[in-house]
Structures are given as C-alpha cells and as structure tokens.
Amino acid sequence: MGALVLAAEAAHGAPDFPILTAVVLTPVVGSILVALISKRRPEIAKQAAVLFALATAGLSIGILALFKTHDAGFQLVDHHGWIADPTISWTLGVDGISLWLVVLTGILFPIAMLGAPPHHDDKPFYAWLLLLEAGCLGAFLSLDTFLFFLFFEIVLVPMYFLISGWGYDLRKYAATKFFLYTMFGSAFMLVGTIATAYLHAKGGPVTFDLRTLAEGQDIISKTTGRWLFLSFAIAFAVKVPLFPFHTWLPDAHTQAPTAGSVILAGVMLKLGTYGFLRFGLYLFPEAAVWAAPGMVTLGVIGIVYGAVCATMQKDLKRIIAYSSVAHLGFIALGTFSLTTQGLQGGVFQMVAHGITTGALFMLCGFIYERRHTYKLEHLNGLQKPAPILAAVFTVVMLASIGLPGLNGFVGEFVILQGSFLTRRWWTVVAVTGVILAALYLLWAYQRVFHGTPDDDNAKVGDLKLGEGLAIAPLVAIIVIMGVYPKPIFDRIQPAVDRLVRHVEDNSDYRQPKVADEGEKVVPEDERRHEGEPSEGHDAEGAHAGADQEGGN
C-alpha cells in the first residue's frame, strides 16, 4: 500500500514551486533580516517581522489551497539530499494530519506578533519569534526522522530566549526548567532515532527517511520496536506534556511573555501530540497498540489532574496552563484510542486548542497590560469598565469549556466518541474533565469579571482597536470551526484512515467497525447485526483489549 501511495505521488509529480521549503525558509530569512536591522530603527523590526510572518501565513494558506482533499498520502513532497552517509535528506511533505497544524502555525504567529508586542528590545524578540516559527513548521513538515529531530530540538533555543528575555519575575528559572525538561526527553529520542535507523539498516546503508522506515515494519523485532517507541514516547510525553512530565508547563506558561505563551500553548505543545501520531503510530504501530492502555491512562489522569489543579490556582495564567494539561490529555486519549474518530478528533482538537488557548493567553495578556497582575485576588468586576473584553473572553472561554457550536466541543465530542469504542471506562472518567473545565473556567471568569470593580479595576480601559483586530480572527475561527467543521474533517479523514489501516496492517489490533456519527453499522462486518451496535462495540472493545493484554 505504501508503494502505491508513493507511486501515486510520483504520478502527480513534484510541484514546480517548492512551497513547503519556502514556508520553512521564509521565517528563517525574515529572522536573519530582522536581526540585521539597525539598532536605531527599532520600529522597522516589528513591521518587517509581521510582514514575513504574514508571508508565511500566506504560504501556509497556499498549501491549504494546493492540498488535494481526498489524497491520503504525503503531498507536495519536496526532497533534496543533504548528508550522504548516513542518508539524511531535506524531505518535507504534508498530509491531512500536518496540514492544519501548518495552517495553525501560519495564522497564530502574525497574530501573536501583532497582539502581544514586547515591552523592550523589539528586534531580538521578533527575530527569535520568526526562528521559532521556522522550527515549528519544519517539525510539522519533516518526513525524515533526523530532520524532525533537528527542528524539534531547535525550537527550544528561541523559546528559551523568549522566556528568559521577556518573561516575568521567575523567567530564568522557568526558561531553564523548560529547556532541560524538554532536552531530557529529546536525549531519549535522539538515541531512539539513531537506533531506529541503524537497526533498520541491518548493516546496509543507513537511512533516516520516515516513509522507508515506517513501511519496513518487519525488520525490527517486536521487543526492540517497543523500546524504541518508548524512547520517542518520553520525548513527546514531556513535550505534550502528559502527566507526570507536565511540571515544566505551568512555570513556563506563567513566566513566558504573552506571545511566548500563545505560541507555546498554541503550537509547540502540538509538536508532542503530532509526534505521537507521526512517530508513534506511524513508525511503531505495533508498539503503539501495545502501549495504548498506558498512554490512554496517562491521558485520562492528565485530564482529571489538570482540571483539578486548574481549579485550585490563584493565578489566571496558571489556570489556563493547567487547562492545557487537561485538554492535551484529551488529545492523547483520542490518539491512543486508535479509532478513526479518536484520531480525527485528536487532530481537530490540536488545532482547536491552539486557537482557543492562544486566544485565552492573549486575553490574559490584555488584562495584564491593564492591571499588571495575573492574580485573581487583585482582579474583579472587569465586566463593568471593559464590556467588550469581557464578551470576547466569554466566547473564547466557552469554546475552551466545550460549548456546542464552538470549536472545543467538536474536538472533544469526536474524541470521546472514538475513545468510547475501545476504552469505555476511560472515556467515562474523561468526561468528568469536561465538567471540571466548566467549573474552573466559569469560576475564574466570575472572579475576574463579575462583581463591583474596586478602585484599581474600575479604571481599566476596554479593548483597543489593535487588540480587537488581533483577536478577531481567532474568535471568527473559533466560531467557524464550531459551526462548520466539515472542510477540516474532510482533509483530516483520508490521512487518519490510512494511519489506522497502517496500524491494523502491522499489528493484531482491529478497529471496531462503526460508521460515523453512529448512523449505520458497516455492512461487510458479518459478526454484527444492524440495530444492536452497542453489543457489537462491547464485544469488539473487549476483543481489542484482550489482544493488547496478550501482547504484553
């Protein structure tokens, strides 16, 4: 099947304009140019940076336009040799899974630049931000495990400088913690990456090409594959972050400047969840099936733990940080439910969470601009002096809670739908996370916006035009994704289907057969009758569970 896809790609022919390379290199060029701008003209730095970020956004939209909706394989593949021995190549490609993350990255960066400018040293700030964008895009597009590692690791440097240079009081501690935690995970992944390639080569030429490695599943033994999977999983679990590797996240988020938080939550955490799909499920399908119960459990613990912690926080940013832990737990749950719906929902939720949490952090930044604090005890009654800000906050917050009609609901609903097929009781526990989300976010909203403002809070100004323009696209996307998610799912589905088939082909796992939205049972499944789907689910779920236990 892989060969077929490759052949199909060859038939399409490489596009004339290497748009994927362009989208990665544009911010790099921008970053270098911004860094070279004269110190005496700091105002140009912002304009140039935004210009490059917008150009990148344009290119990412261009990718969306060129993307063939029903093609499951990697599209627009751009391949250049780089290092001959071992074979490392500059191979970029996009499929339904990475497409939306690329678009998300493209959109979120200019918005973060416009909506959350730094208070000092504009030039390096924008240069680092552009470099960060290049790293994120490169990681999402890499089809070479080595190249992926390069990008995965390089994003630490700009983010480290953004946190340590423009953050709040404990920024140095938070930046160092962030860097070391992530690097700790990456240490395992680098050894895993190298080991995968060398073991796969069996003494022959070594290649890091993702597709070659993923299609040759029977070369690496089951046990070795599981060890390798774990080495990758540690890196991704730190990045996501999954419980118990999450402790860097609240510190990093709280101390990062607003733009840093927006990007960290919106884009960088997705590197981990994306990694699980691309380098967990795709590269080690058998091991992913084997590890699924554990990963789902960690995801569910993350959901509940993140929500409980968020409820306890006294700092607005920390609440949102912990809510990220909870939301990303949902994505982990969806991914390792190993069902089409779960994966689809997971990918959708990655984008939705990026937009929603990005917007939330930006709104927090707006509040900080006015009050110079994130402490809930110092904030109250903001609704009176700043009604528009309160309204926007309400919409975004409700999206984060998962109100139907907004994007958070769609993602979580599809994830839970998918995970219910294979992990019923885990799903039941996970649903409590949705309830807790309503609790902590509404409570936070109540404390910040309701009541009578005291003297300090009464003087707060409402949303400025610039701020409004920066946040408006995000609110629009939140609503559009919530009301009409079909175009997004249409593009995600073929790739996800292919990925699930890939997992099935290479393990004894079989997905319970159920049609979308619970309409009809798939006809060719002779073991099940129409009209009693729930029994069928049950039997199938138990079957899958038994398989995995047997695998242990």
């Binding site: 690791e153 340590s164 160092t176 060398y198």
Partner: protein, 513 residues
C-alpha cells in the same frame, strides 16, 4: 683476531623525508623562530612572532595536501623502519592540530601584548608541542608515541607557566608537570609490559603477534593495556585521571588552554586510536569494557561536577572532560564508523573549544583573572558580538542542532548504537543534558542579567577577532554542511591504518627488533 671479520655495515633504515615534511617544518620553524627571536625586536607593532608561527603552522597544512592524495591513492606510507606511519589519519589529525595552533597563535598575540609578555618563546614552544602532536598522530611504534608525547607535553608544561608574573600560572605548570610526569611513567611502564608480552613495540607487530598467537598467560599484556590507558587517559583528561584538568585550565594562560583542549587532546586521542583500536584490535573484548566504563565515568564526572562551578574556565574544563567522554564513546565502538566519528568530533571540537577559550581570553582582561561567572554579567549588552560568539560555542557544546557540536555527537552516538552500545549512548545524551544546564547558566548570565556599574567594555584584538570569526563560521558551517568533513574522515580511516579487519604482515625491520 679482532678484525678478522669485516665490520658489519650498520643498517640504517631509509627515511622518506617528504612523508615527514609536516613534522620537519614544525620543528625547523620552531628552531628558526628561536634564532629570529634574537634578531627581531621583542616588542613591535607588527606581530612578527605570531605571523611567523602561523606561517610555520600553515605550511604543514599545505604540505599535507599532496600527502593526503598520496596516502589516499597509494595507501599508508611506512617511514623510518615502520616506526612512523603516514596515512590519512596522520594527515587529518595533523591538519587538525595545526589548525589548533593557528587559532592559538591568533589568540596569543593579543594576550601576550596585553599581559606585557611579548616575545618568541610562547610561539616556539607551541610549534614544538605541535610537532610532538603530529609525531603522535603518525606513530606506529609505542616508543614513537612516547617520544611524541614527551615533546608535546614538556613544551606545554612550560607554556602553562609562561605567565611569569602570575602565581596561578606557575602553580598550574607545576601541577601539570608533576602529574604529567607521573602519567608518562605509567605510559612507559605500560610500554615495557606490552613489549615483554609481545616482543615488539611496533604496533603493526603487536597487532599481528596478538592475532596469530594465543598467550597462555596474558596478565602482563593486560597490565600493559591498563597502564597505557592510564597514561593516555591522563593526556585527554578522561576520568578518573582528570583531577589536574580544572586546576591547570584555570591557572594556565587562556590561549594556552585553548591549545591544551584542542591540540593536546587531539594528539592524545590519536595515540589512543592507534594503540587500542589498531594495535590491540584482537583484544577488543578485553579493553572495550574498560573504555566503556571510563567513558561513562568521564561523561558523568565532567557534566555533574561542572554544575557546581562558578568560574567559567573551570566550567569549560569540566565540560572538556565531558567531551572527552563523548569521544571515548566513539573509541569504544572500535569500528570504522566509530573512528570516523572520533575524527569528526576532534576536528569540530578544536574550533568550538578554541573559540570558547578565546572568549575567556578576552573577558579575562589584564591579569587573566576575571573568569568568575559574574564577570560575564550583561556581556550581551557590553559586547554583543563577543557574547553572540560565545553563545554559538556554548550551544554547539550543548549539542544544539545546526551546530557542528550536534553532528559530532550524532556521529558518535551513531557509532555507539551501531555497535549495540545503547545504554552508553543514552548515558552520553543524558550527561549532555546535565552539561546543557551549565552552558545555559553562562548564557543566562550573559543575556539575562544586567552588568554591574562600571563593568568594562572590551576591545577585541584583531587576531582574536579573526580566530573567533573563523571558529563561529566553522561551528555553524560544519553544522549545516558536514558532508565534506565527514567524507574526509572516510578517506582518513581507509586503508589499514586504524580499523583494518585483516591483519597485515609486519615488515622485516619491525619484527626483527
């Protein structure tokens, strides 16, 4: 009668001088510089001494180019009765050592002027030491290794103490000398034991002897291995023979440290490759576990002890120990890939570490004493380009992608994984995470903290500027385009020089010894 038989003509081996040209140039240049030093003014505006030394160090690089192609096409040249082997490895490491010397000269010029120490001595010693290093890189006989090591070391002992008005410098020289002499004794005793066990000091001879004979009692031989490892481990600052490193690095003049961490280390690893990977290849199962353990200890000692340092030079000293551990990981693989990784590591590390100590040279200011972490506060504001250069070197040492340091680690780990040393690779990576903390501390101090009032700004001398720019370019350039260097390492290890799988027959001269 006493003269009945015609006196046997003394057999002297033929010497192919063209193959020894790099060594001869360095030695000749050193002697010439000594003479010229008497004629040239000690203090002058134009850096005569440094320029002459650089030209002398540059000449072997040029003379090595024809040798490179010759050894590539015709195989290794065995010179002086097979005591010296000029092959790709010799040429490669010779160029690396000479590059280290050039960078050191560039740094030393400004330093010596600043410290009022002008004169030819430092350069003469540097060239002599480099000659020793190149001899070690080409040695095919344990005696020649010892010879090279002594030429290299004695010059460096003096260099460590060349800052005559600074007590710490003298202390460093004394410590280095006493411990170094001690380690030389170990090495010599090791050579004696190996000679006792195999009947030859020629590495090719040892190799074929061990491959064709099974020793009924190999205690002598193993003891010889151990002592050799101690002696050479000392030179490359491998734990547990590292104790001198922080003190000596801290006390010695900063440009000299740049040479110690690049040139001396390179020569030491050249000898380790020759002795263990080549000479004792049939005893791999015996020495590999030992090197494995030494590598683990070195990695952990280097990275963990660096954390508690507050002096940047001591930090860099411990980090250089940790890097020695990484290189040992490549040695431990004992494969072609491993040796290539070692060569790549040494070549890239030379630039990174010379650049790092170059920054330390400048920030150290007159007196060479301002090496506390607090002296780096706000460096990004005071000297943005200098801080940026240091940032590049530190990130490279931490192994951040798109720097040469990352690829060096990548190749070493690849070799380790290829020879199934997964846990060693993991320990190496985790130790590099610990090291990263150290580098980040320096970066934070430079970029995150404001300078104290009245903190000096720096003027970077022209020579140091060239050295730093060259190092930054090499560090980033090799991080993006490693292909040519990596291919060169392939040529360097080709032939039977280092990792031959078949045992070649020893030449008459050596086995007869």
């Amino acid at each position: 009668m006493l003269f009945a038989a015609a006196p046997e003509k003394l057999q002297t081996p033929g010497v192919e001088f063209s193959a020894l040209l790099p060594v001869l140039i360095l030695l000749g240049g050193a002697v010439l510089l000594m003479v010229l030093g008497a004629l040239l003014p000690r203090r002058s505006r134009f850096p005569w001494h440094a320029c002459f030394a650089m030209a002398t160090a540059g000449a072997p690089i040029i003379s090595a180019i024809p040798l490179w192609f010759r050894t590539r096409d015709d195989g290794p040249l065995r010179v002086v009765a097979d005591a010296v082997r000029v092959d790709g490895l010799t040429v490669f490491l010779g160029i690396v050592i000479a590059s280290g010397v050039i960078l050191t000269c560039l740094l030393a010029d400004g330093y010596l002027r600043r410290e009022r120490l002008e004169g030819p001595e430092a350069y003469v010693l540097l060239l002599l030491s480099a000659a020793g290093g190149v001899i070690m890189a080409g040695a095919n006989d344990l005696m020649v290794i010892f010879l090279g090591l002594e030429i290299l070391s004695i010059a460096v002992y003096v260099l460590a103490g060349i800052h005559v008005r600074r007590a710490r410098s003298g202390e460093a020289a004394l410590k280095y000398f006493v411990l170094g002499a001690f380690s030389s004794a170990f090495l010599l005793y090791g050579i004696a034991l190996v000679y006792g066990a195999t009947g030859t000091t020629n590495l090719t001879g040892i190799r074929s002897y061990l491959a064709t004979n099974i020793l009924t009692n190999d205690i002598t031989l193993l003891a010889g291995f151990a002592l050799l490892l101690v002696g050479l481990g000392f030179k490359v600052a491998a734990a547990p023979f590292h104790a001198w490193t922080p003190d000596v690095y801290d006390g010695s003049p900063s440009p000299v440290v740049a040479y110690m961490a690049s040139g001396v280390k390179t020569a030491g690893f050249a000898a380790i490759l020759r002795v263990f990977v080549y000479g004792f290849s049939s005893y791999q199962t015996d020495w590999k576990p030992i090197v494995y353990v030494v590598a683990v200890i070195t990695l952990l000692v280097g990275s963990v002890l660096a954390v508690s340092q507050t002096n940047v030079k001591r930090m860099l000293a411990y980090s250089s120990i940790s890097h020695a551990g990484f290189i040992l990981v490549g040695v431990q693989a004992a494969t072609e890939r491993g040796t290539r990784a070692v060569l790549f590591y040494l070549a890239t590390y030379t630039f990174t570490v010379a650049g790092s100590f170059g920054v330390a040279t400048i920030v150290g200011r007159t007196g060479d004493n301002a090496h506390a972490l607090s002296d780096y506060k706000g460096l990004a504001k005071r000297a943005p380009l200098l801080a940026f250069a240091f940032l590049v070197f530190l990130l490279a040492q931490a192994g951040v992608p798109f720097t040469s340091g990352f690829l060096a680690k990548f190749y070493v780990l690849g070799a380790a994984v290829d020879s199934r040393s997964f846990w060693l690779a993991l320990v190496a990576m985790l130790s590099s995470v610990i090291s990263a903390f150290v580098y980040l501390r320096v970066v934070l101090t430079m970029y995150g903290e404001d300078a104290e009032d009245g903190a000096p700004t720096f003027t970077v001398p022209a020579g140091a500027r060239i050295a730093l720019v060259a190092s930054v370019v090499a560090t980033i350039g090799l991080g993006i385009i490693p292909g040519p260097l990596w291919d060169a390492t392939k040529t360097a290890v080709r032939g039977d020089g280092v990792v031959a799988t078949t045992v070649d027959t020893p030449t008459q001269a050596s086995s007869g010894g």
